[in-house]
Amino acid sequence: MTTIESINNWFIQNFGAITIEQVKSWFVYDPDEKLLFNTGLFLGLFLVFYFVYGFLRKTFYLRLTYVILFSLFFYYKSSGIYFLLLLLSSVVDYGLSQIIYKESRDGVKKLYLVISVILNLALLGYFKYMNFLIVTYNDMFSGNFALHNVFLPVGISFYTFQSMSYIIEIYREEIKPTKNYIEYLFFVSFFPQLVAGPIVRAKDFLPQIYQKLNLTKQDVNNALFLIIGGLIKKTVISNYISVNFVDRVFDTPLSYTSFENLMASYGYAIQIYCDFSGYSDMAIGIALLLGFKLPANFRTPYKSTSITDFWRRWHISLSTWLKDFLYISIGGNRSGSFAGYLFPSLFFFGLLLWGMSCYNESIIPLIIAGSSILVFSLSFLLSSKIKQTLVTNFNLFTTMLLGGLWHGAGAQFIVWGALHGLALAVHKIFMEFFTSKKDKRPNFLWRFFSILITFHFVVFCWIFFRARDFETALQVINNIGQLTFEPELWKTIVLGYKNVFGLMLFGYVWHFLPETFTNGMKSVFDKTPLLIKAIILGFVYWIVYATAVAGSQPFIYFQF
């Protein structure tokens, strides 16, 4: 008896008493407590799930159904009743894809494809962009439409893109449809990548469903390494610096010194990378534990030597999706299309209007508008193949504008996309003039400055991405512009926020470590015995826990 009692006491001491209420809260949707990979609840649920999964590894439909049920539960925990939306959209998409596959007439096929794309985009559009459109309309035509009280279902941008890839690939006859709905639902609802990517392509994923499920020691090593890295990036670095520093500065940039604004911009760059890539890594790792290989989503993007390079390393699953399904659909580098010309023209026209409307107060907006149009025009006028470069740049610009908008409904995301689009065009023409000699590795200094410039351009664009609105972004930029060299003041600030700055430094050093070093770490990790791996993982759990309970840094204003 005493042993049971003592176990019970020990349990209560470590986990707290468990009440019915608590157990209920584990299974009921709570908008404030989303089921993220870095929560204790997910770990507990996953352990139970994974244990049974191991026994089901030799079955097929039973295993698929089991994973689907867990995925739907997972989605219900994140978005409540909207898991029905996921089911509904999957039924419709599956039905349409069957029709497209069986239909032999090209015209009819295309019709169904268009219907399906419109349905998916309408779904995304309603939930994500409805209010943005209403606000924009009201502002422009002083309309009076009431806003809709729209809940944004978690991950809707990801799973609609994923099901679109399935249908388009079937239309392009790149894949065969799944044998039945269960298999399709498994693909769409697979919980590791359901809410935040990576956006898995049907042609990469579907073949894996049919393979015999296998998990090698190497897979598990890779998975654990990814999960450990992801946990540290997401919960330690990203969460801590955002709450304790970056968010505050971006809330009221003018209340802080230029140096703090600059550091917050650098801080946000590492924060968003750690947040996004950390979560992706955890997703890839968890999928790998289940025996599924998802493609890498980030390859140390801030090491890029050009903006073109950056987009091959940042959120790869999104950029390849946009390339394959948007950029190529509107003509790619071959031909222009209505859509390809429409969006850039609208954007530049809008920019010009903004410049003219601000003319009375300041001429700068007009200069910005004029010069960006000039730069964009020069990017193809200077090219030796004007016509081809023109369509390429217009299509690329469209892709970046819409890609920007995909990240969120707001003018600042469009500006962010436009800046990247413009930079891609400029880089292209730059490459045409200064083609690096083949087979010759650029010298160290050249590389160093390329990385430095690319990185700072990306950080500059992030300011628009992060700022609440356009005006706040300009405040941050203006404030940084007034930076003067005051090492004493900088030292004070750095010491005042030493945890935050320490973590930022750790994040950047980790990011810029040579690949050979990380590979070395990985191979050491691979060789450690099972028990040590468990202890390492356990230690990382503890770090996550201890960071999560760390009180936020009290508010400080510096004296100078």
Partner: protein, 493 residues
């Protein structure tokens, strides 16, 4: 290569890691990134506050505090009639607002309503909550909307929050020498009305300040710009540049507080170049149109309110002679929440001194205490209302009552327990992620709530006044308004 299925090893690792985690939790500390004590010399916080905290060694046990509190909450506060024969209904300590003590202010508002040419002036002292004219500009707009009046009031020369202020834009040269009541005990010359004194001592470079009207509804121009400066043995010169004109004026610092009109009428912007003005204490500029309500924002980051007790009453009275204040608002508390103490008797004592200094400096003025707002802190994994908020708010209410000041309970006004979390999480958000400060939107809401309570008192006052006039009661002989025996309850301290 090992092709055998590795599922159970994989499961074992994840499960064993959980065991390891529990082990680590037992032996390792609870938190990393502990909140290390910062070197206070680098942080903007007032020195009087630090001293008071250090001195505070009076310990009282919680039970007696709780018992006092219960007694206090039930205590009826009965007001006596003022000499004008007005008596607000009795209140409980719990819901104390103290409209009775704002009667002289309300009477001035009433006079203004009858005669739009007269004026009413409010000084709003605050901490970083009112930086950049947040909250204050909304209170100002509300008053000017209803009672008339234009202009942002008194603006100091420099301020660390000048850049974030939208109601008036000010820029200044970097060579101003500033002394602040926050961290200077014995200033070279007395502090001005906003607790600062500025000197243009640089002989090599030009010392200047420039003002431009902001975008606030009732402050789109700078009206009757007037320079305030103090006493000095030397004379100086100042050049005002308005558009293309330069006005050369001289400073004759004979009195404790001197004024110099830049121009009558209104301008959009001007620049003041101080030449040969070293050792003359410069205080700031006043902008008002001469009638209606004017509200001055005297915010100072890191201030607890205690430094006001160091004001030089003679200098303040000299300021009051030209500015004529009717209401002084003291909005503090944010900076005294973080000292691990829930016993605020030391702060009550200090702030009582502050209020008394205000009374000495501005004879007959009404005083309003605004309590701390809600503020959240992380307890374990959860954000909750900081445990110091309620004790501080109660202490503030207590000294408001004791010193015969009106009281605005910002904590309950914004929603009470846990409200800051809501304000931060709401879309669109009304407060910042530090769970302490409001943003523009939130500040506007707070400004409206504050004005709302003040105005409710005014409306009640008008009803009482009418009743008095109808009944024709004669004003009673002079008798001080006094709450009923409340002050005795703190004896155990």
């Amino acid at each position: 290569m090992n092709t055998k299925s590795y599922f159970f090893q994989s499961f074992a690792i994840v499960a064993l890691a959980l065991v390891a985690f529990i082990g680590f939790k037992q032996i390792l500390p609870d938190k990393i990134f502990s909140e290390s004590k910062l070197d206070s010399k680098n942080i903007l916080i007032d020195s009087l506050l630090l001293e008071s905290v250090a001195e505070d060694s009076v310990a009282i046990d919680d039970d007696s505090v709780a018992a006092n509190e219960r007694a206090l909450n039930k205590q009826k506060i009965v007001f006596d009639q003022t000499e004008e024969g007005i008596e607000f209904p009795a209140e409980t300590f719990e819901n104390y607002k103290g409209y009775q003590y704002l009667i002289s202010f309300y009477e001035k508002l009433y006079q203004l309503e009858k005669n739009p040419q007269s004026k009413v002036r409010i000084a709003y002292y605050g901490d970083s909550m009112t930086d950049g004219d947040l909250i204050v500009q909304d209170v100002r707009t509300n008053y000017q909307e209803r009672f008339g009046g234009k202009g942002v009031g008194f603006v100091p020369i420099t301020s660390e929050s000048a850049a974030s202020r939208g109601s008036v834009k000010s820029t200044y040269s970097k060579n101003w020498k500033t002394q602040s009541y926050l961290n200077v005990k014995k200033p070279t010359s007395p502090f001005g009305i906003n607790g600062h004194v500025f000197f243009a001592n640089d002989k090599a470079n030009l010392t200047w300040v420039q003002y431009e009207a902001g975008l606030s509804k009732y402050s789109t121009s700078l009206d009757n710009a007037t320079l305030f400066y103090g006493r000095s043995s030397k004379v100086g010169k100042v050049n005002f540049i308005i558009g293309k004109d330069t006005l050369k004026k001289s400073l004759s610092p004979n009195n404790l507080v001197n004024t110099l009109k830049v121009s009558s009428g209104s301008v959009k912007a001007f620049k003041a170049n101080f030449v040969q003005a070293d050792s003359i204490p410069i205080y700031g500029f006043n902008f008002d149109n001469g009638s209606g309500v004017h509200v001055d924002n005297f915010s100072q980051r890191g201030n607890s309110g205690l430094p006001i007790s160091m004001f030089n009453a003679d200098v303040m009275r000299a300021f009051n002679n030209s500015l004529k204040y009717d209401l002084i608002i003291l909005h503090y508390g944010t900076n005294v929440l973080n000292y691990g103490t829930k016993n605020y008797s030391w702060y009550e004592k200090g702030m009582t001194k502050t209020v008394n200094k205000i009374k000495e400096s501005f004879p007959g003025v009404s005083i309003l205490i605004v309590s701390t707002a809600d503020k959240s802190t992380k307890y374990d994994l959860e954000m909750k209302t900081d445990s110091a908020v309620v004790p501080l708010m109660k202490a503030q209410k207590h000294y408001a009552l004791e010193t015969h000041a009106g009281f605005v309970n910002l904590y309950t006004l914004m929603g009470g327990d846990g409200s800051m979390i809501k304000w931060v999480d709401e879309t669109p958000a009304k407060a910042n992620k530090d769970y302490t400060h409001f943003n523009q939107r939130g500040a506007k809401a707070i400004g409206n709530l504050l004005y709302g309570q003040l105005n409710k008192g005014y409306e009640e006052y008008k009803v009482l006044r009418q009743k008095r006039d109808a009944e024709g009661t004669k004003p009673k002989p002079v008798k001080k308004a006094r709450p009923d025996s409340v002050s005795v309850t703190k004896d155990s301290v």
